[in-house]
Structure formats: C-alpha cells, structure tokens
C-alpha cells in the first residue's frame, strides 16, 4: 500500500486520454485517483429553449438538500459545481463533481439516486441523453463518458484526503474542544 501524505501538497499532470494505464471497470475505462480525488467534468449541449428548466433544477437540489441533508451521501462528494455557458448561439451545461469513490464502482447507486432526486431529469434537457436511462445503466454511463472532459492537471493542498476523513477530523476537534471546556 502506498502511504499518501496529506501534509504535503501534490499536483498531478494527466495524459490526454484521462488515465495513465488502460484499466477497465464494469462499464468501461477507469480514471485514476488524483491528489484532488476522483471526479468528473461533463459538458453537454442544452436542448434549445431548455436553459430556464436547467436553472430551475439548481433550486430543486437546494431544497432537496435542505430537507434531506444526507440525500447525496452515497456519492461521497466534496463539491458539485454546475455551470451554464454559451458558445455562439448554443447553451452548454457543465457538471463538475469532486468525490471520493470511483464513480464506476457505484454507477447504479448513482443512477438510482439521480433518479430519486431529479438530477437525471435535468439531464433530459441535454442533447443525446438516452431515453431508456432508467433501466439501462450502461447507456447512462456511455453518455457520461462521451461527455466527460478529463482534467490534465489536478492539485490538492491536502491531497488524497476523503470527505469522511475531513468530517471525522472536524468532529474530533469539536469533541476535543468540548472536553477541554469540561476540564476548566
């Protein structure tokens, strides 16, 4: 096992293909874990006139998480960034996620979860999204892969640290502070 040192910031330049060595998961090639963990950047064209619908989903996700803070727990996310931008007269949607699990390992869980909280439905506003995604995980993954733009550089100030480890460390810090308070 390689010990990854979280105290030492690290950067990784990634080949054009998005991986160093071709290794397949259940649904296709696996992308490597970098100092910024796993993640993807999906860029896809929004169907004409659907930009407002896509924006509305931002609000929908906000409300979902306010009501159910654990809703996306399975994805082991650090951050999500959703961006809309124009090229010429077309609108594009960029979905950037940074997370701790190899997406391919939990594809079906992610698809089920996306279905449950409407993220898939936002995908239905994108050109080329498979209509049978609900019963066809391989088609869903194919869409993600075809629209994935792999990073060529990733950096971590505290590399390879998972969201769970960060949460545990913060809880420990809080518990320790509480303990010190009790000893006053």
């Amino acid at each position: 096992m390689t010990v990854k040192d979280f105290t030492k910031p690290a950067a990784m330049a990634i080949p054009k293909e998005g991986y160093f060595e071709l290794k397949n998961g259940r649904y296709g090639v696996l992308y490597p874990r970098t100092p910024a963990n796993y993640g993807f950047t999906i860029i896809a064209k929004v169907k004409a006139g659907r930009e407002p619908a896509v924006r509305e989903y931002g609000k929908k996700i906000e409300n979902t998480i306010a009501d159910l803070p654990e809703a996306l727990e399975v994805l082991k996310l650090h951050y999500l960034r959703w961006v809309l931008f124009n090229i010429g007269g077309d609108t594009y949607f960029m979905y950037q996620g940074i997370f701790d699990t190899d997406f391919d390992k939990y594809t079906e869980d992610a698809v089920a979860l996306f279905g449950k909280y409407g993220i898939n439905t936002v995908f239905e506003n994108l050109e080329g999204f498979p209509e049978d995604w609900k019963t066809n995980a391989p088609a869903f993954v194919k869409f993600v892969r075809e629209h994935q733009c792999p990073s060529f550089l990733e950096y971590g100030e505290y590399p390879y640290v998972t969201a769970d480890e960060i949460k545990k460390a913060l809880k420990l810090k809080a518990a320790f502070s509480a303990m010190l308070d009790q000893m006053q």
């Binding site: 096992m1 290794k23 397949n24 259940r26 019963t135 995980a137 391989p138």
Partner: protein, 438 residues
C-alpha cells in the same frame, strides 16, 4: 405473476440434495447440441414442478455460455443483444473482478476459459448413490450423442450431516433473498420482499420497470444469469492461522467468528458478540434478525470487513435490494479430519450466484464488496474468506480501547475456475432444442 412453471427450479427451490455433479460440455456442431438438449429437456424440473410434486431423488439444471448459445444456432443479431459482460465471459473480466495473481484465469482448470465451453449441466442428487447412477446414465448418453465433456466435478456434503456447512466448518445456507412471487416465506430480518425482476428476466425489478429483454424473447423470458466459481479451501492453512492468532480454543473460535461475522455454528456476532450461541443459528426466526447500522455501527461485534458484512451490508449500504443474489452450490473433496495436517488434496466449494444482471449484482459484489481495499474506508483490506489475498492485506477487528489489526492475512481460498452461464426458462430450452430460430 411469476411463471413458476416456466422457470428452471434452480434459483427458486432449495432441494434436499446431499450430492451433486457439474459437467462442463462442448457441442461439436449444433445438431449434436440440439439432440442432447431435446432428450435432457424432460429431466429439467420447473420451479412449479419441483416445489409441488412427489419427493424427487435428483434435480437437473441446464445453462449455456454465450458461445454455447451460438453453438446451438442462435444468430449473431440476437446474440449481440445480450449484456456485454455475458458476451465477454468471466475470464475476460477477471482483472476487474479482482481474481488476479494465483486466482487469475491462467491457473483455472477444467477447460472453463475455453471458447469451446458451451454448457453446464448441474445434477443435484439426494445421495451419492443416486448421483453415481445418474452420472453413468449421462455418460452413456453424451457418448451416444457425440457431446464432449470438457470436465466434471463431483460434490457431496461433508460430515457431520445434520447441518449444511463447508470445509472450514462454518454453517451454510443461512440466508436467502425473499423473492416476491416465489412462495418463499421471509424470515425476520430478511428485509422486504425483492421484486422477481432482480433474478428473472421479463419482470419489473426494484426500479418498478421491466428492463428490455435480450433477443429473442422466446429464449430469454424467465431466464437468469448464473456466475460459477470453484473455490479451493486451504483448510490446513486456515486452522494454522487460527492457532497462530488465538492461544486458547475460545480465542481461536472468536477469531474464526470475526473473519466470517458468524460463529462456526452460524450464530451472528451481532446477536452473540462474546460467546457462541448455537441455538440462535438453528432458529430461523432469529438467525437473520439483525442489522448493522443501529445494532453495531462501529463493528465492535461484527468487524466492518467480515465476510457476511461485506456480502450483505444490510442497512449500511445504499440500494441494497439491487445487489442481492441467490446462491447455490456445495462442497467438493474429502473433509480434512480435525488435527490432521494439510494433505494437499483439493477441496472447497463450487457455487453459483444467480441474478438478472451479472454486472450490477455479481460483478459489483466481486469488484467492490470482495476485492476493493477501500471498502468501508478500510484502506487495505479485502474479503478475508475469499477476497484475493497475497499476504499484503490486513484484517481489522474493532475492539475497545484499541482495535486489533491482523497484518499479512494469508489466502484461505484460491479461485480454480469460473464462468458465466445463462439459464433459460423451460420454453427457452425448448426454443434452443428446436433449432433456435425465431
């Protein structure tokens, strides 16, 4: 309604078999395969027939590889509609499954990696005498037809015969997913009924939708996929390990229980954390009536990496109903007597995992639950019982005040073979026997 009269009995009924034989077959040409299948068809029991009739003495199941479907004359166009993992076969997926090193297909035996592997016939028999009678009869018949037997494996229960168990001594057959419409009475803790579409093609699954069937429908409706694994058990090594890691008999039993998540009696650690309680194991109302999230979140009773906690994380995994599998199989090779040194004779379990999607169910279980070192944030562990172990992984036993970590875990098992098969329904078998043309 689940069409029990059209589904092969294999994944629905647990037969009272004490012996079994698996034969791995190759058809030199389609006519030979069809002639063999036409005669064998009447011996295959449906889930309805096996569940209701007079007591049988033997039960026959037939499955085909993707190459086997082609060898029986299924056309390329429908063949291409089968899922990619089935088309590729298990050996081609070995790296992703984690069956590497000594477990890798280059070491597999019995012709299972050959593209000539076309079919499996599974015979379950009430006893060894019945198995021998059927084996002789079948040997005569395959010779007559011209079917090639690539290899075969004889299985039999090992003593003591009063309960099912494998060579390490762990009680077996303690849990079964409760499939809706199969007539199975769920026991406490078994979880909610699971939709038939998780195991049989052509039914709604847990998404409430019915996935598209591979073509032609006459072949695939009421079918299932099964993943076969032949797993050698290194009994001497396992017993030595227990002695090295426990000074007293009690300590050794506790280490054995921690690896599995159940005592060898079958009592789950969550319900019997400090001391074995064999009565729990034989009480179907109690043997599965536990969870992890509420009853043992940190693994002080059942370690996070224990075999049963990996294979069914119960309430601590998302979407668990979409990962369930039905297991069948038995032990092969002679039992190694207590206190006898390792004799070098191959013994183990040869088992099948049945499901509707090899990728979503079996391959996920192998890739993540069995062989992912990062599972449950454990960082450097694999399934202690049948993950691919090469002496570089650990096993952590949570314990107050500090955990116990066993390093350099040896391999207690070695994968000696594996393959993916499609189990057609009875109409599907007939379709193949009649020429496989839509």
């Amino acid at each position: 309604m689940v069409e029990l009269e059209d589904i092969q009995h294999f994944l629905v009924s647990r037969t009272p078999a004490m012996a079994a034989r698996y034969e791995f077959l190759s058809f030199p040409d389609p006519r030979v395969g069809r002639a063999w299948l036409s005669a064998m068809l009447e011996k295959v029991g449906s889930a309805h027939a096996v569940g209701s009739g007079a007591p049988d003495s033997r039960w026959v199941t037939i499955g085909f590889t993707w190459n086997g479907l082609r060898a029986l004359g299924v056309d390329d166009e429908p063949l291409a509609t089968f899922p990619e993992e089935f088309r590729q076969g298990m050996a081609a997926r070995a790296e992703m499954l984690g069956t590497t090193g000594k477990n890798s297909p280059e070491h597999w035996i019995g012709g299972l990696t050959s593209s000539d592997l076309h079919a499996i016939v599974v015979l379950f028999a009430r006893d060894v005498a019945e198995r021998e009678r059927c084996a002789l009869e079948h040997a005569r018949f395959v010779k007559e037809c011209g079917v090639t037997v690539l290899s075969s494996l004889d299985l039999a229960a090992i003593p003591p015969f009063d309960h099912a168990h494998e060579h390490f001594g762990y009680r077996d057959r303690l849990s079964e997913p409760p499939v809706e419409g199969s007539g199975y009475e769920p026991t406490p803790g078994a979880g909610p009924l699971i939709k038939a579409g998780e195991f049989f093609l052509g039914y709604p699954d847990q998404s409430d939708l019915t996935p598209a069937l591979p073509k032609p429908e006459r072949l695939t409706r009421n079918g299932s996929y099964i993943a076969y694994l032949r797993l050698q058990q290194h009994v001497g090594r396992f017993r030595d390990f227990l002695k090295e890691n426990g000074e007293t008999q009690e300590e050794q039993e506790l280490v054995a229980a921690k690896l599995m998540g159940r005592w060898r009696s079958g009592a789950p650690l969550v319900l019997a954390p400090d001391k074995d309680d064999p009565e729990i194991a034989s009480d179907r109302k109690r043997s599965n009536n536990f969870n992890y999230g509420e009853m043992d979140p940190l693994g002080y009773a059942c370690p996070l990496g224990a075999h049963i906690r990996r294979m069914n994380p119960r309430d601590t995994a998302h979407n668990i109903e979409r990962r369930r599998m039905i297991r069948r199989g038995g032990t092969y090779g002679p039992a190694l007597p207590e206190d006898a040194p390792e004799d070098g004779v191959e013994r183990g379990v040869a088992a099948f995992v049945g499901c509707a999607s090899l990728a979503r169910q079996f391959e996920f279980a192998m890739n993540v639950w069995t062989n992912d070192p990062e599972f449950h944030e454990l960082k450097n562990e694999r399934d202690p019982m049948f993950g691919t172990q090469d002496g570089t992984f650990d096993f952590t036993i949570p314990k107050r005040p500090i955990k116990r970590k066993i390093t350099s875990l040896p391999a207690f098992t070695t994968v000696r073979g594996g393959a993916y098969f499609f189990l057609p329904g009875i109409r599907g078998l007939r379709f193949l026997a009649n020429g496989a043309k839509a």
